[in-house]
C-alpha cells in the first residue's frame, strides 16, 4: 500500500462524515429557493457552529471510550453566565469571556475528576453533574434575560470581508488551537490509547488517568465556547432544559455521523464537526421542503436514520462475520 492509502485508512471515519455532510448539504442547497447565497451560508454556519462545538466536546470524551451527558447543560450554564458577565468595556468583556471559558473548563474538570479518580461510571456521573449544572443555570437565570456585548457578538456572528461567515473562522481557530495540539501531543495519544485498549495502554506505561482528565476538561472548555456563541446569537441567557438535553443527544448523533467510534479509540473531533453540520442539515432540509411543523421531529428522525445508515454501509462489505464484533 502506498503512503496515501494508509492516510485514507486512518481518516476513513472523518472523510465519511465529510461525505455525508456534503451529500446532505447539496440536497439542501439545490432545493433552497435562494440557492447558495452569502446569507444562506452565514445562517447555516451559525446554526451549525453551535452543535459543532458541543460535538467536538463530546468527541473528546468518546475517544477515551467515555461519554459526557452533561455537555448540553454546560452549554446552557455558560450561556447564562455569559449573559451576566460578557458586557461593558472591551476590557470587561474580555475578562467576561475568560470567565465563561473558565467556568466551562471547571465543569469539565469536575466531570473528569469524578470519572477518573472517583471511578464513577461516566453515564451516571455526567447525568448527575448535568442536573447540577442546569440547576445552577436556573438559579442564575430563573427567567430569560440579560445581555451581551453586541459589538463582539455581531463581529463573531457576521461575515469577514463580506463573504466568509466569521463563526466558521472562529471554529477553525479553535480546531487549530485546541484540537490539533491535543491530537499531536503525548496526552492526546494517551487519550486514544486509553479508549482503544486501556489494559494495553497501562502495560505500556501510558498516563491514562491524566489523559482522561484532560479530555473531560477540554470537553468542558469546548462546551463553554458553545455557550458563549449561543449568547452571541441570542443576545440573552436562558436556562432552557429542552435545549440542553437536545444538544446532548444530538452531540452523540453528530460524533457517530462524523465517524467517531462509541467504543473509543477511533475518529476525530474534525469528523465530529462534519457530523454536527450534517445533523444540523437534517433539520434545515425539512424547512426547504416546506414540511408541516407537526411532522418535523418524525421526519428529522428518519433523515438522521438514513444518514447513519450511509455511515454503516461499510458493514455490508464485511465478508468475515467476526469483523462485525471488532
Amino acid at each position: 500500500m502506498s503512503e496515501w492509502r494508509y492516510w485514507l485508512n486512518e481518516q476513513r471515519g472523518t472523510l465519511m462524515g465529510l461525505a455525508i455532510f456534503l451529500l446532505m448539504f447539496c440536497v439542501y442547497i439545490t432545493n433552497h429557493p435562494a440557492g447558495l447565497t452569502v446569507n444562506v451560508a452565514q445562517t447555516a454556519a451559525n446554526k451549525g457552529v453551535l452543535l459543532a462545538f458541543i460535538a467536538m466536546a463530546q468527541a473528546m470524551v468518546v475517544i477515551t471510550a467515555g461519554i459526557d451527558l452533561s455537555v448540553g447543560m454546560i452549554f446552557v450554564l455558560t450561556n447564562c453566565i455569559a449573559s451576566w458577565i460578557v458586557v461593558g468595556t472591551p476590557m470587561q468583556t474580555a475578562l467576561g469571556v475568560a470567565g465563561v471559558l473558565l467556568a466551562g473548563t471547571i465543569c469539565g474538570a469536575i466531570n473528569g475528576l469524578l470519572v477518573v479518580y472517583g471511578r464513577l461510571q461516566p453515564i451516571v456521573a455526567t447525568i448527575a453533574t448535568g442536573a447540577i449544572y442546569f440547576g445552577l443555570a436556573l438559579l442564575l437565570r430563573p427567567f430569560p434575560g440579560g445581555s451581551v456585548n453586541e459589538d463582539l457578538a455581531d463581529a463573531l456572528t457576521g461575515r469577514l470581508f463580506g463573504t466568509i461567515p466569521s463563526s466558521l473562522v472562529a471554529l477553525l481557530g479553535v480546531v487549530l488551537l485546541v484540537w490539533l495540539p491535543f491530537r499531536r501531543s503525548e496526552i492526546g495519544r494517551a487519550a486514544y490509547a486509553a479508549g482503544s485498549s486501556e489494559a494495553a495502554a497501562f502495560m505500556s506505561g501510558v498516563p491514562i488517568r491524566r489523559a482522561k482528565l484532560v479530555a473531560y476538561t477540554l470537553a468542558g472548555l469546548l462546551a463553554g465556547m458553545g455557550g458563549l456563541f449561543l449568547t452571541f446569537f441570542t443576545y440573552t441567557g436562558e436556562a432552557a432544559y429542552a435545549s440542553g438535553s437536545g444538544y446532548t443527544l444530538w452531540s452523540i448523533a453528530a460524533v457517530v455521523l462524523g465517524g467517531v467510534s462509541l467504543y473509543g479509540g477511533r475518529g476525530s473531533a474534525v469528523g465530529a464537526i462534519f457530523g454536527a453540520f450534517a445533523a444540523r442539515t437534517t433539520g434545515d432540509m425539512l424547512f426547504v421542503f416546506d414540511v408541516d411543523p407537526l411532522w418535523q421531529p418524525l421526519l428529522q428522525g428518519m433523515v438522521l436514520l438514513i444518514a447513519i445508515s450511509i455511515g454503516a454501509l461499510g458493514l455490508l462489505r464485511v465478508r468475515n462475520r467476526l469483523d462485525w464484533f471488532q
Binding site: 486512518e10 495540539p181 499531536r184 501531543s185 485498549s197 479509540g265 464485511v318 465478508r319 462475520r321 467476526l322
Partner: protein, 514 residues
C-alpha cells in the same frame, strides 16, 4: 557454561525470597532468580507455576508481598510498568500490549515519543519506528499501518520491535514467539543473540521446548510457585525437564495412532472451496475417527478455512458436503445443529471462546442450551449432570462452577472452551491452534482427548502452529501455502522435516529413511 563461570559474574538483577499471594491462592513462595548480563535465561514451568507472576513483579505490574529485588546490588522497587521501564526492564507480554487503533509507529514510541515544540515529532517517530522494525527484522511492516489491521504474527513482531526501541538492559519475552512463523523466530533469535553479545540480559519464557534448547544459556524450572532447579541449557534431556516441570514421570507425550480405516466414508468434505483472495480451490475429506492436521506457516488461510467451513465467512464458493450430501452452512447456528453437528474451537479463547466475566457453569452450557432446555426453560438437573461429566472428563481444575471463568488458568480456560462444545457431542470438530500458550501437562491431556474423540468416531480437523503436535497427533496433514493445499502428508510421511519443507513451499527432497 560451567558452574564456576556462573558464580564468577555478579548478576545484573537478582530476586530473593519473593512471595506473592492472590487472596488465598499462593502464586509465589520464596522464589529467587538471578539474571546475568549477556546471557539468555529460560524460565520453564507449567501454567500456574508462578512464571507470569514473577515477570509481572519484575515489570512493575504487581508488587511482591515479601522479598527483595536488586539491580546491580542496589535494592529496587517498582510501583508501575513505567518505573520498571525507566530502570531498563522491558517486557513483551503474552497478552499483547499494543493499542489496536493506533499506527505501528505510534505504538512503538507510545511510552516515550520524540518531541518537538512540545508536540510529538512525527517524522522523528517514523524514523524511530523504521529503525526498530529493522532491528527486529520486520521491515515488511509499514510504520503507518494500524495495528488492528495486522495479523497476529505481525503484531508480535511489532511488540518485539517496541520493546527493543526502549533499548532495555533486561528484556523479558513471555510467550512472545507463540504466534510467530518459523522464519520470524529465526530472525528474532538472531537479533536476540546479537543483543546479548552486546550485554543485554534476556529472560525467555516459552512452552516450545525446541526453542529453549536452541537459544537459552541457562534454565530455571518453576513448580508450584518455587524455583525447583537451575541448570545450564543442554545438560538435561527433554524428558527430564518435563518431569521437573510437572513433578511426575511422563510416559509418552503423544498417544499411539491407530491405523486409519480406509473404508470409512468422509463425514466432512469440501470441493473447490474458495473465499476472497485468501482461499483457493480447497478440496479435502475428513473421515470419522480421523485426525487431519492443517500445516504450513501461520496465516496461509488455515484460520479462514476453519471459519469458512463453520459458516462464518460470506461469499465462499465451492461445495461443502456432510455425509456425502451437499450442505449449505449459513452460520455457526446451522453448523452446530443436529444433522451437521460441527464444533469450532476458536483461536482466541478470550474473545471468541469464552464470556470471561460469566461463570464456569454458564460458559460450559452456552453452546448446548438448546439441548438442555424444553420449551425454552433450562432443565437444571440435566445441565448439572452434563456439566459434572465434562468437568470430570476433562479434569478442569476450578475452585467452583460459579466463579468467573476468567479467573481460571489459561490451560483450564481452554479446557472449558473445548468442554462447552463437547457438551453437544459434535461429530465434526474443527480446532484452531488449541494449545497455544498452554502448559505441557494440559497439552498432553489435550492430545489424549483428541485421540479419544477420534476413537469415538469424531472427524477432527486440527490446525496447529506447533509442528511436533501435527507429527504426533495427525493421521494426515494438509499443508497450506497462500490459501492452497500444496502437499498432503500421510502416516510415516509426516515428519518435521517434511512439514517445514512443504510449509516453505520449497520442493521437498525425498526423505532418507533412517
Amino acid at each position: 557454561m560451567t558452574a564456576t563461570q556462573l558464580q564468577a559474574a555478579s548478576p545484573l538483577f537478582r530476586m530473593e525470597g519473593i512471595c506473592k499471594r492472590y487472596g488465598g491462592v499462593r502464586a509465589l513462595e520464596d522464589a529467587s532468580l538471578a539474571v546475568e548480563a549477556g546471557r539468555i535465561h529460560a524460565i520453564l514451568g507449567e501454567n500456574g507455576a508462578g512464571k507470569s507472576t514473577l515477570i509481572k513483579i519484575m515489570a512493575g505490574v504487581v508488587a511482591p508481598d515479601e522479598g527483595r529485588m536488586l539491580l546491580e546490588d542496589r535494592e529496587v522497587a517498582f510501583r508501575s510498568p513505567a518505573q520498571a521501564a525507566g530502570a531498563g526492564i522491558a517486557c513483551v507480554f503474552q497478552e499483547l500490549s499494543l493499542i489496536p487503533d493506533l499506527s505501528v509507529a505510534d505504538n512503538i514510541s507510545i511510552s516515550n515519543p520524540p518531541h518537538r515544540f512540545g508536540l510529538i515529532d512525527r517524522a522523528a517517530q517514523r524514523r524511530l519506528a523504521e529503525e526498530a522494525l529493522a532491528r527486529a527484522g520486520a521491515e515488511d511492516i509499514h510504520p503507518r499501518a494500524l495495528v488492528r489491521d495486522l495479523p497476529l504474527s505481525r503484531r508480535q513482531m511489532v511488540e518485539i520491535a517496541k520493546a527493543l526501541a526502549w533499548k532495555p538492559r533486561i528484556l523479558i519475552l513471555d510467550e512472545a514467539t507463540s504466534a510467530l512463523t518459523a522464519g520470524d523466530v529465526a530472525k528474532v533469535f538472531a537479533v536476540l543473540r546479537r543483543l546479548c553479545s552486546e550485554g543485554l540480559a534476556l529472560l525467555y519464557i516459552s512452552h516450545r521446548m525446541h526453542e529453549i534448547t536452541e537459544i537459552a544459556d541457562d534454565c530455571t524450572v518453576f513448580r508450584n510457585g518455587r524455583n525447583v532447579a537451575s541448570f545450564a541449557a543442554g545438560t538435561r534431556s527433554g524428558n527430564e525437564v518435563v518431569e521437573m516441570m510437572i513433578g511426575r514421570e511422563v510416559s509418552s507425550v503423544f498417544p499411539p495412532k491407530p491405523q486409519r480405516r480406509r473404508e470409512a466414508r468422509p463425514v466432512l468434505a469440501c470441493n473447490m472451496f474458495s473465499w476472497s483472495d485468501r482461499l483457493h480451490d480447497i478440496t479435502l475429506e475428513v473421515c470419522p475417527g480421523e485426525v487431519v492436521g492443517l500445516g504450513g506457516l501461520d496465516g496461509q488461510g488455515q484460520r479462514e478455512l476453519l471459519l469458512g467451513l463453520f459458516g462464518v465467512l460470506r461469499g465462499t464458493t465451492g461445495t461443502v458436503s456432510i455425509d456425502g450430501v451437499a450442505a449449505s452452512i449459513a452460520g455457526p447456528g446451522t453448523a452446530r445443529a443436529g444433522r451437521i453437528g460441527m464444533a469450532l474451537i476458536p483461536e482466541d479463547r478470550k474473545t471468541e471462546g469464552l464470556m470471561q466475566p460469566m461463570t464456569v457453569r454458564e460458559n460450559l452450557s452456552f453452546a448446548a442450551l438448546d439441548r438442555l432446555s424444553a420449551r425454552g426453560v433450562i432443565n437444571r438437573d440435566k445441565e448439572e449432570r452434563d456439566i459434572d461429566e465434562m468437568v470430570r472428563l476433562l479434569a478442569i481444575k476450578t475452585a467452583g462452577l460459579d466463579i468467573p471463568v476468567g479467573s481460571l488458568s489459561g490451560g483450564n480456560q481452554q479446557k472449558v472452551v473445548i468442554a462447552k462444545w463437547l457438551m453437544r457431542r459434535p461429530r465434526i470438530i474443527l480446532l484452531n491452534d488449541p494449545t497455544r500458550g498452554i502448559d505441557v501437562g494440559t497439552k498432553q491431556e489435550m492430545y489424549q482427548l483428541l485421540r479419544r474423540l477420534a476413537d469415538a468416531e469424531a472427524a477432527i480437523l486440527f490446525y496447529s502452529t506447533d509442528y511436533d503436535e501435527l507429527v504426533g497427533c495427525c493421521n494426515r496433514v494438509l499443508v497450506l501455502y497462500d490459501g492452497r493445499i500444496v502437499r498432503e502428508l500421510e502416516g510415516a510421511g509426516i515428519t518435521e522435516h517434511a512439514l517445514v519443507a512443504s510449509a516453505l513451499h520449497v520442493d521437498a527432497q525425498p526423505e532418507a529413511v533412517a
